[in-house]
Structures are given as C-alpha cells and as structure tokens.
C-alpha cells in the first residue's frame, strides 16, 4: 500500500536531511504507529505520502502509484484515496457536523443523493448519529475528532493518516478514538498514526516505526513505545 525506497528529503534551507535513506513497506490493512521526538521527520514522512513534498532522492509508492511519475493534476485523485486526521481537528466552525462531513464529498463533485446517503452512515459509524445538526463548538473535543474522522473516512479511502489524533484529548477520550480507528482498520483500511502517546502504543501492540533525526531506527511488529533510557 505504501512503499518507501531509499527515500531522502532535504529541505532547501537546511543542511541536515529531514529524512535519510528510509526504506519500508506498509501492507494493505496494516495498522502502523510512527513515533519519534519532535524534528525526527514524522511530519515529512506524512507529507511525502500525501505528495505535499517530493523526495530529494528515492521513490515513494502509494496505492500502487509511483508518486514521482504522478503529474500535478492527478494529485487530487491520489488524495481522494487517503483520509487525513489532525491533532487540531480542522473543522469548519460555521458549518454543522453534517455539513462538515458533506463538504468533503461536495468539493469532489459527488451527487446530492450519494452525499445524502453516505453522511448519516458514516456519522453512525463514528458514534455521532443524531448529532448531525450540531456545530463544532457545541461538541466535546472527542466528538469533534470523531467528526474529523468521519470526514476523512466518508469517501472510504484506502489509507487513513492520523497526525497525533489524540494529542489534544484526555486519556479516556483517547481510548474511544483508538477503538474507532481500530474498527476502521479492521474494516480493511490501512491506518498510519503518528503519536507521542506511550500508553496507547503499549496497549495496542501494533507495528511501530521509530524515527530519530531523520533515520528509521526501529521497525517492530507488535511493538511498544520505547525502552526506558
């Protein structure tokens, strides 16, 4: 599903590469944690998958496509197959929950009947059935993140990328979000989650990729957050 071949990314203004010679493969349906301290290259890793950046060297394949050969006007097609969730939710405050989720389908030109069917379905899935008419500021943080996940998942992407989705939430709410992501993963969607949350990583026992100063220092299936240093 996602393959990195000796990928190096150096930003023009910096000498030290943000990612250095990374090779890895994430299979369809996997659940992967990406961990590492700030500046270790996690964000660059995500941006390369979304083709927001191009690698300085090496190849990135996503969903069977070589991103180096992907022309600019085909990038939107790639991103329709990748759902994205952020720490800060990024909901539109002047739209209701339903409208926020529908927005993702409207702007890719889906028909009204399709949207009318898909939005309530996905809201039920994330556990927000009946709250479609609320505005984001009337919801708790956990509920807002569920809306964001609904929006990312409503188009049934093959990959879901979550950038510290529990970073703004308390541990109890985080568990709810993790259960939701796990359920989405079990339905066949590949989930790549960047996190700093030790408890969650240790509890889930999924594959762990650890980045340190741009290098991949650990790739462990059923891993834990880290060793006490």
């Amino acid at each position: 599903m996602i393959r990195f071949d000796k990928v190096t990314k150096t930003y023009p203004t910096q000498n030290r590469p943000a990612l250095q010679n990374i090779s890895l493969e994430i299979e369809r349906g996997e659940f992967v944690f990406v961990i590492g301290s700030s500046g270790s290259g996690k964000s660059t890793f995500m941006r390369l998958i979304l083709r927001e950046e191009r690698p300085s060297a090496g190849r990135v394949h996503v969903a069977g496509k070589d991103l180096a050969k992907l022309s600019n006007w085909k990038i939107p097609q790639l991103r329709r197959q990748i759902g994205t969730v952020f720490q800060d939710f990024r909901l539109l405050p002047n739209k209701t929950v339903e409208q926020n989720v529908a927005f993702a389908l409207e702007v890719i030109g889906k028909s009204r009947p399709t949207i009318g069917k898909a939005v309530p379905e996905v809201l039920d899935l994330v556990g927000l059935g009946g709250k479609g008419g609320r505005f984001p500021n009337e919801l708790s943080g956990g509920e807002q993140q569920r809306v964001a996940i609904a929006r990312a998942f409503v188009n049934r992407p093959m990959v879901l990328i979550a950038d510290e989705p529990t970073g703004n939430l308390d541990p109890e709410t985080s568990v709810g979000i993790m259960k939701l992501l796990d359920r989405i993963n079990r339905a066949g969607t590949t989930v790549v989650m960047v996190t700093h949350d030790q408890a969650i990583v240790n509890q889930m026992r999924k594959r762990v990729l650890e980045l340190d100063s741009g290098s991949l220092v650990r790739d462990q299936s059923r891993g834990v957050y880290g060793y006490v240093r």
Binding site: P76, T84, F103, V107, I108
Partner: protein, 310 residues
C-alpha cells in the same frame, strides 16, 4: 460540478470583502470607461477623416443650382457647366504649384456623403433631405509643396472665378476638431493605462485577501482531493463578477459621453461634419467586455498562483 455550491461560495467571497470588491469595481470601471472614450475618439477621428482628407490640401467647389442666390458674384448662372469645370481642371493641372487634380462629380460626392452620414445620428436626419444636385461637384487639388503660403496663393487665385462657389483649405476646417479628439484620445488612454494598473493591483490584493480568509476551506479541499480547478473556480469567478461590474459601470460612462458630449455639445456646434452613432458605442462596449473579463480573471489567476498553493 455543483453549480449552486460554487455560486454560494462566490457570493460569500464577494460579501466578505465588500469594500475591496467596491474598490475593484470602481477602478475597473474608470479604467474601462477611459479605454472606451479613447476608442470612441478613434472611431470619430477615422469617421471624420473622409476620403479626400489625407490626399489633398485644397478643394475647389463648383456652383450648384442653389448658389445663384447664395453666391451671385460667381454663380450668377446657377449650376456650373461641364465646360467651366473642364477648363478649370486644365488650368489647375497647368499650375506650377499643383501636383495632381482629382475631379469629383455631383453623383460621386452624393454617394460619398450618404456613406459618410450612415450611422451618425446628426447626419442621418440631414442626409434624408439632401439631393444630388445640392451637393457641389469639386476639383480636389494636391500641392507639390503644401505650405501655408502656397495654400493661400491657391485660394486667392481661384476664389472669385466664374462657376466657383468657394475654394477651401481642406486641412484647417477640421483641424480644431482633430486636435480636440486627439487630445481626448491621448489623455483618456493615459488615464486608462494608469487605472488598469491600479485595478490589476487591487484585484491581485482582493483575491489574496479572499484566499487568506478562506485558507481553512481551501486547505480541507486540498486534503480531501478537490481538483485544482474546483478550488480556484470560486476565486476566478469572484474576479469575473467584479470585472463585469466594472464593464457595466463603464458602459454607463461611455453612453453618457456619447449622449451628453457628442450629441448635446459637439454635434449642434460642428454641423459641417458628421459624428459617430450608437452602433460605435455598441462596438466599444463589445470590446470592453472581454477586456474587462480578461483583466479581472487574468489578475485573479496570477494572484492564485502566488497565494493559493494547491
């Protein structure tokens, strides 16, 4: 493509930056209006530069039947005879100062007058009542050296000959009008160029503001895979709507220029020449529409390339 969605986005965008939108419409209107006035003046100038204007310096007009009473000194016999005209032509051709003589019969002159008056509001009404025998035949004279002294010499030697109604210096009649129109063209064009620059900068900034205030929406659109066209369309349409608003206001300006200045002031005071009609105003507006759209959409696209990363 969801038309309703795009339309609502456009109007949200225009309303959010209402003051900037008004500024864009006004500056585009002034720019396009000035451009329109310059175009009208160019049309008017070419309309007035009749068939002979660019070729000859002196015109010798022969008597018509009406001149027996109007100019009894030289036209006592009424209509000049063909013999008079022939001998005058021979005389002119032999003149040292003359390079070439073009005779124009009454029928030719009538045809040219009708053609020239077509499309002019002041001219059309008059042209209906004019008959061929009211229009003088003439000998159009090109001089070897068209200096003021030579022109004056020609006028004094042929004015007063039998069968000649009048001899006129072709250039000096229309010269004041040409000066006025050329002055208007130059100043209108200058203002238009400055205002087009101003309008472009305003549009670039308005779109930049609009893109900034909607960066949340465009960011999400980008992430969920909306096409570049779909993301940019509302901004481009915003520019197009503002540009068309400018064209609409400019049209009012050009129309009032034609109505108040040309029809009310110039036409009654300069009856010897004809003025452009409303058809030329229409042509001008039809030119302004694509120019306004291109200006607005082009500036928006340029601004989006810079400020809206997709």
């Amino acid at each position: 493509m969801r038309a309703q969605f795009v339309l609502s986005e456009i109007f949200i965008g225009l309303r959010r930056n209402l003051t900037m939108t008004v500024a864009v419409v006004v500056s585009a209107a002034v720019a396009l209006g000035m451009l329109g006035v310059a175009l009208l003046m160019l049309f008017q100038t070419s309309h007035m530069k009749d068939y002979w204007y660019n070729k000859v310096e002196v015109s010798v007009f022969m008597c018509t039947k009406d001149d027996a009473t109007l100019h009894p000194a030289t036209c006592a016999n009424g209509q000049a005879s063909q013999n008079q005209m022939n001998s005058l032509q021979a005389d002119l051709t032999a003149n040292q100062l003359v390079q070439q003589v073009f005779p124009e019969s009454q029928a030719d002159a009538y045809a040219r007058y009708q053609q020239q008056s077509a499309g002019s509001t002041s001219g059309t009404s008059m042209a209906q009542y004019v008959t061929p025998d009211q229009i003088p035949a003439s000998l159009r004279v090109k001089l070897k050296n068209p200096s003021t002294e030579n022109i004056d010499a020609m006028i004094s030697s042929y004015q007063g000959q039998q069968g000649v109604e009048t001899v006129s210096d072709q250039r000096t009649i229309l010269q004041p009008l040409f000066k006025l129109f050329n002055g208007l063209t130059v100043s209108a064009t200058t203002v238009a160029v400055v205002m087009v620059g101003l309008a472009l900068m305003l549009i670039v900034n308005t779109v930049r503001l609009s893109a900034f205030s909607r960066r949340r929406e465009t960011g999400i659109m980008r992430l969920v895979g909306a096409s570049n066209f779909y993301i940019r369309l509302p901004f481009l349409m915003e520019g197009a709507v503002a540009g068309l608003g400018g064209v609409a206001v400019a049209t009012l300006g050009v129309a009032s220029f034609k109505f108040f200045l040309i029809d009310r002031v110039l036409a009654p005071n300069f009856t010897f020449t004809s003025f452009i009609g409303w058809d030329k105003v229409l042509v001008t507006v039809l030119i302004l529409i694509p120019v306004g759209l291109l200006m607005a959409v082009g500036a928006s696209a340029l601004s989006l390339r810079k400020y809206l990363k997709v």
